[in-house]
Symmetry: C2
Subunit: 505 residues, 2 copies
Amino acid sequence: MTARTRRRSRNGAARMPQPGFGQRRRPYVPVEVLSADQVAAIHQAGIDILARFGMRVLDGAARALYRDAGGEVADDVVRLDPGLVAEHLCTVPKRFTLHARNPAHDVTVGGDVCVYTSVGGPAYVMDNDRGRRDGTFAEMCDYMRLVQVLNVIHQEGGGPFEPMDLPAHTRHLDIYHAQIGLLDKTWQGQTLGRARTMDGIEMAAIALGTTPEGLAERPALVGVINTNSPLQLDVPMAEGLIAMAEHGQALAITPFTLAGAMAPVTLAGALAQQHAEALAGIVLTQIVRPGAPVLYGGFTSNVDMRSGSPAFGTPEYVKAAQASGQLARHVGVPFRSSNVTAANEVDAQAAYESQMALWGALMGGAHLLEHGAGWLHGGLTASFEKLILDAELLMMMDAYFSPIDTSPEALALDAIREAGPGGHFFGTAHTMERYETAFHAPLLSNWDSYPTWLERGGIDARTRANAVWKALLSEYEEPALDPAVAEALDAYVSRRKEAGGAPMN
Amino acid sequence: MTARTRRRSRNGAARMPQPGFGQRRRPYVPVEVLSADQVAAIHQAGIDILARFGMRVLDGAARALYRDAGGEVADDVVRLDPGLVAEHLCTVPKRFTLHARNPAHDVTVGGDVCVYTSVGGPAYVMDNDRGRRDGTFAEMCDYMRLVQVLNVIHQEGGGPFEPMDLPAHTRHLDIYHAQIGLLDKTWQGQTLGRARTMDGIEMAAIALGTTPEGLAERPALVGVINTNSPLQLDVPMAEGLIAMAEHGQALAITPFTLAGAMAPVTLAGALAQQHAEALAGIVLTQIVRPGAPVLYGGFTSNVDMRSGSPAFGTPEYVKAAQASGQLARHVGVPFRSSNVTAANEVDAQAAYESQMALWGALMGGAHLLEHGAGWLHGGLTASFEKLILDAELLMMMDAYFSPIDTSPEALALDAIREAGPGGHFFGTAHTMERYETAFHAPLLSNWDSYPTWLERGGIDARTRANAVWKALLSEYEEPALDPAVAEALDAYVSRRKEAGGAPMN
């Protein structure tokens, strides 16, 4: 257990209990839902799909890259033979570091640790006070401040929601600016088209005191590439992929394979298709720049067969996540999964779907947890209260990953003898020496007796979460930024805004 | 996936979606949070505790049984040497069947399956309509009717709450009567003192058309024995244990080892103490009747160190549950765990604590899940809405345990080719043949889009659960009971009530 951060803020108010920043090692073997034979069968099906059916690649530059590397291109369809795929999987790094402007917040991708991110990409924002609505830049900044304050979140996930009060062409510049200024953690870039992608790379380079080319030696960014399932890669995503890979920035290649809609209704079929699409993207990153950091994204879920709408955090989602972890390990690529729910409120359903998704992801061996905190409404909404709920769930998983100490002192035979039959352990020396850090200290859970809880207002978890984020927001302190860096960022943003920003894709 | 039960009830109303009754095989290896060396160290600590410190056994008959078997008795303390413990562990059955009055509802304890029970023992009842209150017999019967209707619950857990409108001395007789009459599933007996225990055995024998002696050949009941941690076994529990074991009925020996209160603040210490207490009870069952069915109960959790009140479904609870599973397998005894929460409402906290507990129990290899559905307030309250929430969680875990099919048909290469790049799988033959049973159909989850959900009233999970239990209650049909058996039960209960029932312990 890491030492807790100081319990009082500068103004003397009690701070919320939080362990310090850091990735915890998962000391347990990932759950395997597939046998080795089954993994091989799904892998082979993915390989067959790429060799026989191919991917439709809408971007000419991407098709040219595949063709020059030995892919078979016919019209807009690219077929990849198994040897070509295997060759390019060899250059994928098993482990890499992402650099933050505060080196204490650097993170490792790979091995037995996971990067927990905040939600990225929703259209809307929601809180208990005002319900769901279009978000503003000011609110987005508050959300980012919370991501900075929450130690359990390692990485900002790419802008929590759209700041609709800003012009669309230049909005990404303001988001990047906020990601760099308000946080000193790693953050995710936008990959929709080359212009947006390059702005992120340029600004990340400025923040780290280097150039876009220099950034390749110190990767800082993660970008998510979604294929247009089934078996299609569109132009903006291909441009984003190529720009990021050229500059050695990390990509999470994530097919959106909803079983029953954009993928077969069978999990094995959806996973085979996911595997093909993920491999196609991973291969392209290695064609662009051998050794470029990349992750295998697993996002397979199922639709509600009554309505066709996507469901998340389902039993099928959990199996698909853990199976995806096995497939990613089979091809030797770090694994990205997510914390997802289709719930409409921060209620029991939001908690159990997210909790299921987390067990799927974290015990599936995920190295990057996308949307780790804050996602609601199947990804359409970033919720302030869900951010707190998820932070609690993540802190609980971290505490679960703290291994049981079985040293003689921990086995406590002396304490047991001292307490004696029918005695108790309150206030004994063994207890007093350890009680402050023995157990997970909750951010959100309330363990009052029912009468006490009623006396104190009978406040449910959804309402408590509202108070928690407001308390955390008051703890926020903006991390200092080198004035020269700040000035260079301001200049970059001004110049790019004057030039009109990025085209809409 | 088991065929779903018919979707319309006799009166033509649509039934709630439920898979049929049945225990699902867990096809995945249990999670191991301890190394083999750590398991051995905790086991040895437990053995040392029994050999060196011993258990205080307040019941003279129990002490005599231990002494006659070779235990060392000094005053009220019983010490057991390692050889004696090992010898009695040899006779514990690894697997046994519990018999219901409907043989289709018999359950297996042991192997790769688990028995899911309903909550047993709370003082209070609660629902959304009337809040928490003392329960009545009529309400208790409704709760049992729901336990009968919910296919995912395999066993009634010993009376969901106290029917406070009935006299205390004879209340257990009415509860047994309801358990037998309203359900045709297995049920749990009360083990507080010999009289209550024997009444359960007598009535179970009548229900199965046999005698108390004959019941030993067809075990029907489970009884829970809680030690008074630390290291103490009281008179009523010892009497219950002896009576049940004499008649070959199953016991779950469950120390209540709350780390930081009745057990050391360290998990390893709490587990060592739990192990000692559980082994002491298990050994006593085998002294009474070699081969008597018995389970190793793991209930170790932690207290809230601010208030001293118990916490449940915590990360420490999960680790303790999975470690307990390893300890139970180490000694070759079936494992009992629980679905627990300290939440005060059926909110996000209730869901995430129960979900954590379930992952601990079910991926810890539990064979009996006590309080599988309905427990709230740290076990003080049985909630109607929590029953539904937990049934959903259990159905999700069952669906998670349905293995991924990787047959060529499931890999679906033809369907993927047919859909083609950018196509979709709605309405394809591959989808149409499978969609009805492809995915978990939820009882409680709502996957409407947010605007649709708002239009339909914006009803959260807690409120939906209320509607679900009312709909299920309307589906209930009382299972037919042989009139001769019914008459014999009536006569037994009348006779025992006239005799004054059972003494209060």
